[in-house]
Symmetry: C2
Subunit: 386 residues, 2 copies
Amino acid sequence: MLNFEFKNPTKIIFGKETIKNLSKEIPADAKILMLYGGGSIKKNGIYDEVKQSLASYQVIEFGGIPANPEYEVLVDALALIKKEEITYLLAVGGGSVIDGTKFLSSAALYTGDNPWDILEKGIRTDVGLPFGTVLTLPATGSEMNSGAVISRRGTNQKLGMGGPGLFPQFSILDPKVIQSIPKHQLANGVVDAFTHVLEQYMTYPAHASLQDRFAESILQTLIEVAPTVIENPFYHEAASNFMWSCTMALNGLIQKGVPTDWAVHAIGHELTVFFGIDHARTLAIIAPSHYRYNFETKKAKLAQCAERVFGITTGTMEEKAATCIEHFEKFFHSLGIQTKLSEYTTEYLGTAERIEARFIERGMLGLGEHKAITPSDVRQIVSMSY
Amino acid sequence: MLNFEFKNPTKIIFGKETIKNLSKEIPADAKILMLYGGGSIKKNGIYDEVKQSLASYQVIEFGGIPANPEYEVLVDALALIKKEEITYLLAVGGGSVIDGTKFLSSAALYTGDNPWDILEKGIRTDVGLPFGTVLTLPATGSEMNSGAVISRRGTNQKLGMGGPGLFPQFSILDPKVIQSIPKHQLANGVVDAFTHVLEQYMTYPAHASLQDRFAESILQTLIEVAPTVIENPFYHEAASNFMWSCTMALNGLIQKGVPTDWAVHAIGHELTVFFGIDHARTLAIIAPSHYRYNFETKKAKLAQCAERVFGITTGTMEEKAATCIEHFEKFFHSLGIQTKLSEYTTEYLGTAERIEARFIERGMLGLGEHKAITPSDVRQIVSMSY
């Protein structure tokens, strides 16, 4: 096990009818900016519930935060925060709205001239404007971590930020929110959380028995509940386990003491940039090829996963490992998610070379847990994903 | 899954050579009271390491906190805190020293006349004097939770306390500390953590798939590493997994969203009071009888545990459940821990009736996850444990 530090101060309020607890969590004299996305919360009743819980507060609203939260939109919210002297932010949404709110939390107290520097210069946020979240789309784990990814359309950049000041003070997780999520987005959420676990688990063995088993627990739970979540999102028990699994997949716990990979995310992101493919689906495209290409370094953990998650007890380590990758593909397919780039676009030829060139240009010369995956390796992984 | 709230702000600093990080965690102007137990830290080098890390601070010491931390001893430390105007507490020890420090954290800021009221009147601690810990004995989880149990010899009381103000600000977990722990205490630590998990898991099924699997993960890891931990505590990987399992067993995570039992602890405590049997060993005596006596309400989870933890795939639910209890006993025996009261004392006759009487007297009329275990049931459980 590697040395680690772990601290996660976010308060989780989980379960049925928990949105009404909002007012217990926010100081009575707060002036709140409520942030949300495209407006689905106005159709599914969550907007009304939140507003009702906040009846005694001064609340200003800022809607329209897009998927892949955009800097160009967020600067308008930042101006509003300053003009209205907002003291508390409330994100009502999924990962994009929460990530956007994290940027605003940081930028609101940033004393430099240009808030984009927080991202471009990688400035760590030690203290942010306090904020809470009401999660409406389980997937990213942003509701219980201190990281965010922000896009800037003008420069085609997508950069990460973080710091101990960016944990939500609280996050309300009422599983009923999944009832109004379209099936394809629920499937995306499952794959997103599943791949988050793989990025922190499918590396080389690090003698971290408990972390391994926790990671396997999340994979098993997602596999177990996914069919019900997608077919019957009104079933509370499946929704609860899905929601809590997504949070636990990326709240920092399972990555402590172990090596992590994240190459699938780095490569997959390019497919979103080029083709607009949903983030989760890019992960389903890249992950199997990534594990096949880096089979030697990952086969021990792949075989362990085959045994413990998929119950495969026969065959050599190599056979188990290969079967494990096939099981990942079958699982993604069972959710209606294709795993080949050519199933998403006819214009896939040349993608591998384009991504290789972009990684060279940006100095991304060593990915993965060994920092040994070169742009040339990336080209071959992407080719295998056609 | 039941509704829950979860917040755990303790910072964990885990791994090799981490004690030297102490000074990064405590404010430079702090006046520290360093608390420890019987002095084993002076023999194993931890005392010197801690003192060296604190070289730049004003440090006063208070040693001699006994196992089952006693109010009579702690009031002397409290007087010292007030006299010396201490601003920060540092517990260097196991669960007893940490629990004692939690009492002092609360009592130092308590404005009432009698600090025992915190325990007797169940006063919740919202803010305590800040404190950190250097864990020297993995077992209780106190290093990452906000509860404490304090004994008062004069009145033969043992009472719990807690509150959000009693999370350690940080806890340093260097697995090498187990190298100097006697084998029987290591065995106790394994059984203590193992039973902590059972108290939060061996109830009725609550459709909390992820929590179930996390609980099973801790049980499996403890079973896996226990032989190595006891035979070769110098092996870092086993020590690490043991230490982290003990923390995760009682830091609040696995009890969220599920019913909990804790009857084994309530009954086992009496055996410590009567016979001075080690806490962990009382749990090993009571748990098997408790599960046999309450077989009907627990058999579904016992069978699940048999399947997932012990790999028992054949037989009826009842057969699997019965086998699971036998496996618990075998595991305890493999650690050199006996599971019958008569193996600890020849004066066991009448114990069941005495405990029944004490439970009636103290109004403990309904134990367990259904609050349905009466003093008469307790008598029968204890009789079965002879």
